[in-house]
């Protein structure tokens, strides 16, 4: 180890890991909980902050942030007496924070699959959550098997900056607003209750309830053209009731039905890149270089077909042929 990399293992000055550990341990130790004033006297990091002249307001903010951090990592802090006088409110860590569901008894092979599942995020938005989860799973002590899973490195991509704020809003069940640009260029402001994120053919979709339209809707993430804003009523976030499983299933089924109803037919140039892509040597897929399949969204499929240039001709629907063409014309005009 060189001196340089050795120093890299030192936590940064701003690293809060030691403070969070002190806070967690103090709360676990004082089983009946501690008040904020007690915590400020107990935790060395807080005491130090007070001694170095941190004003109460900043100290309070630090404490709020620390609580948020603990909750985000699944350490459940609650107050058994929320109605008490402010100075008497106690903070307690829930008993079951460290109790795993009894049926979690992992085999070596399963740990391996979980590792692969966590690595799926290694270049995408949930990287940090996935890798923290993996640390905990490994800490259960199972040894990884010498593996036959080597040779696979599946990865999810999230190119859309709205992905992370939407996962947070889904988890906290908070309403959000954003500007959405439809494929025809029309922009409108949406207010939604975000339910879940789906990926269909490589495109991320937000499944949600559109509050103004009063119905479930799917939005393509890459068409969100503004910040995702948490909706507030005064100081409070606007929360919503979780949708029933039935409603979620119906909404997904409607999307699938929509897709089933949209078919395109293409003619593909023999032995071109598109011919390879659609596996047209496998006769079950084609007749005379023609192929048909379902699609979700006209503009999105047009985008993919533009990848093949003149190797592909759209036979039907006419709107798709026109969309592909209009895109190319725009490109020519933009690069004149």
């Amino acid at each position: 180890m060189s001196a340089k990399s050795e120093s890299a293992w030192q936590p940064a000055k701003t690293d809060k890991s030691e403070r969070l550990l002190q806070l967690t341990c103090a709360l676990l130790f004082a089983e009946r909980g501690l008040t904020k004033a007690e915590l400020f006297r107990s935790i060395p990091a807080y005491v130090e902050a007070v001694n170095s002249g941190t004003v109460e307001e900043s100290l309070n903010r630090m404490f709020e942030r620390d609580k948020t951090d603990l909750r985000a990592t699944g350490i459940q802090i609650y107050t058994p007496n929320p109605a008490a006088e402010a100075e008497e409110i106690c903070y307690v860590i829930a008993d079951d924070t460290f109790i795993w569901p009894s049926h979690i008894d992992l085999s070596a092979k399963q740990l391996q699959l979980l590792t692969l599942a966590a690595q799926v995020w290694s270049q995408a938005s949930l990287q940090s959550d996935a890798s923290q989860a993996l640390v905990r799973l490994k800490a259960l002590g199972v040894e990884q098997a010498a593996d036959d899973l080597i040779g696979f490195a599946p990865r999810i991509n999230t190119h859309e900056p709205s992905f992370l704020p939407l996962t947070t809003a889904i988890e906290n069940r908070t309403e959000v607003t954003f500007s959405y640009r439809k494929a025809n260029g029309e922009v409108s402001k949406r207010q939604v209750q975000p339910w879940s994120l789906h990926n269909v053919d490589g495109q991320w979709l937000l499944q949600c309830f559109d509050v103004k339209q009063k119905q479930p809707r799917n939005f393509v993430l890459k068409r969100i053209v503004s910040k995702v804003q948490i909706l507030r009523d005064g100081d409070l976030e606007v929360n919503f009731e979780a949708p029933s499983n039935e409603l979620l299933e119906t909404t997904t089924k409607e999307l699938m039905d929509h897709i089933k109803g949209q078919v395109c037919e293409l003619k593909v140039k023999r032995d071109s890149g598109a011919w390879f892509h659609f596996h047209l040597d496998d006769s079950s897929n084609s007749k005379d270089g023609q192929i048909s399949f379902n699609f979700m969204d006209l503009e999105l499929i047009a985008e993919e077909l533009r990848d093949f240039g003149s190797d592909v001709t759209v036979i039907r629907p006419k709107e798709l042929a026109e969309a592909v063409k209009a895109g190319f014309q725009k490109v020519v005009a933009d690069h004149a």
């Binding site: 969070l20 550990l21 967690t24 341990c25 676990l28 130790f29 004082a30 501690l34 060395p44 951090d69 985000a72 699944g74 924070t97 460290f98 049926h103 399963q110 979980l114 599942a117 690595q119 799926v120 940090s128 959550d129 890798s131 989860a133 640390v135 905990r136 490994k138 259960l140 040779g151 696979f152 490195a153 599946p154 990865r155 991509n157 190119h159 859309e160 900056p161 996962t167 500007s179 879940s196 789906h198 269909v200 053919d201 499944q207 969100i224 053209v225 910040k227 032995d271 890149g273 390879f276 596996h279 496998d282 990848d307 240039g309 003149s310 209009a326 190319f328 725009k330 933009d334 690069h335």
Partner: protein
């Protein structure tokens, strides 16, 4: 996974809790074994041990030191031995977010033919489904060409450490029959990539599975050169000195074009969603396909040569004559 020196405060805190739970359950273990188990550097582990040993608070007038990992044992024998632990009996269970991330990862694995009906995978999906919010859902594949036909054959070759032959059509639309030594399959949203040692170029290269056909597993073992490949980059784009820098302007609909090259943050509003960025292209004529697919949401700013390639690509696709001469096209 983040390298340990990229661990931020939350990651480090998470690891400290996990390590105490691990040592509590497992009993004494050598630093090197523990480091290997968590895939961390032993030096990182030692620093974390110091932080754990320093954890204390003055609870109701009494100073409590919460843990003691035997420092002498560590210094002399390289052993981690937790001899005092006042508070943590076990590893903290997964948070909702953590469980959701893993569940989504499993769901993604389940879309890959090799895992689809794996009983272990199904069991894990069930365990996690019972404990997660329904955040991120299974991926649905619809198009032909997305679930890759040759994947199983290639995977067999990887596991058996043998070579394959196939016909490959490159991005210049040139077809050739190649011998490749497959090392790893990388299913991605935009298709499957094969990382293979190429005996002609004597290096690991990327091949898109949907550009291969007539794949045959050969009865030839992997060469020593291919065996000596130790690590394969995660990124699909690998920089080369011969790359051309191209400045592009993209709307949110085309952020994918630049996301490998620039960290993208949320646009404040519709007006400033357009971003200018520099991307690198190995074979410059490819810029035509890369930009034209977005049908106007992406645009080349410079160099001039790249603009010409884009325009020509679109003109050719429209079946219109391509006028301007492009120099240096290989």
């Amino acid at each position: 996974m983040p390298k340990p020196n990229n661990f931020n405060g939350e990651d480090r805190y998470n690891f400290m809790l996990a390590l105490v739970g691990f040592l509590q359950n497992r009993g004494p273990v050598s630093v090197s074994d523990a480091a290997a188990h968590f895939e961390l550097d032993p030096a990182y582990l030692r620093k974390v041990v110091t932080s754990i040993n320093e954890a204390r608070a003055e609870v109701r007038g009494f100073e409590q030191w919460f843990f003691m990992i035997d420092v002498e044992e560590l210094e002399e024998n390289g052993m981690l031995s937790l001899i005092d632990n006042l508070v943590i009996d076990d590893v903290p269970k997964l948070s909702n977010r953590q469980a959701s991330a893993i569940a989504a990862g499993l769901n993604y694995l389940a879309t890959i033919p090799a895992f689809k009906s794996d009983p272990d995978l199904i069991e894990l999906q069930n365990i996690l489904a019972a404990n997660t919010i329904r955040g991120i859902n299974p991926l649905v594949e619809l198009r032909p060409g997305s679930a890759e036909a040759g994947a199983e054959l290639v995977r067999k070759a990887i596991l058996a450490e043998t070579q394959i032959s196939c016909e490959y059509i490159n991005q210049k639309d040139e077809r050739s029959v190649r011998t490749l030594e497959p090392l790893r399959l990388d299913p991605r949203a935009d298709g499957w990539y094969l990382r293979a040692y190429c005996p002609i170029h004597k290096e690991v290269r990327n091949f898109k599975l949907d550009r291969m056909r007539r794949i045959e597993v050969l009865d030839v073992q992997r060469s020593n050169e291919a065996r000596s490949v130790s690590e394969i980059e995660d990124a699909i784009y690998i920089a080369a000195a011969t790359d051309t820098k191209v400045t592009v302007e993209v709307e949110p609909e085309a952020y994918r074009l630049i996301s490998e090259f620039k960290t993208i943050s949320e646009p404040a509003n519709v007006e400033n969603g357009r971003i200018r960025a520099e991307i690198k292209v190995g074979h410059l004529p490819n810029i035509g396909r890369l930009v034209a697919r977005y049908g106007g949401a992406a645009k080349v700013i410079s160099p001039e040569q790249a603009k010409v390639h884009v325009k020509n690509y679109a003109l050719a696709a429209l079946g219109e004559p391509v006028h301007s001469k492009v120099e240096n096209e290989d």
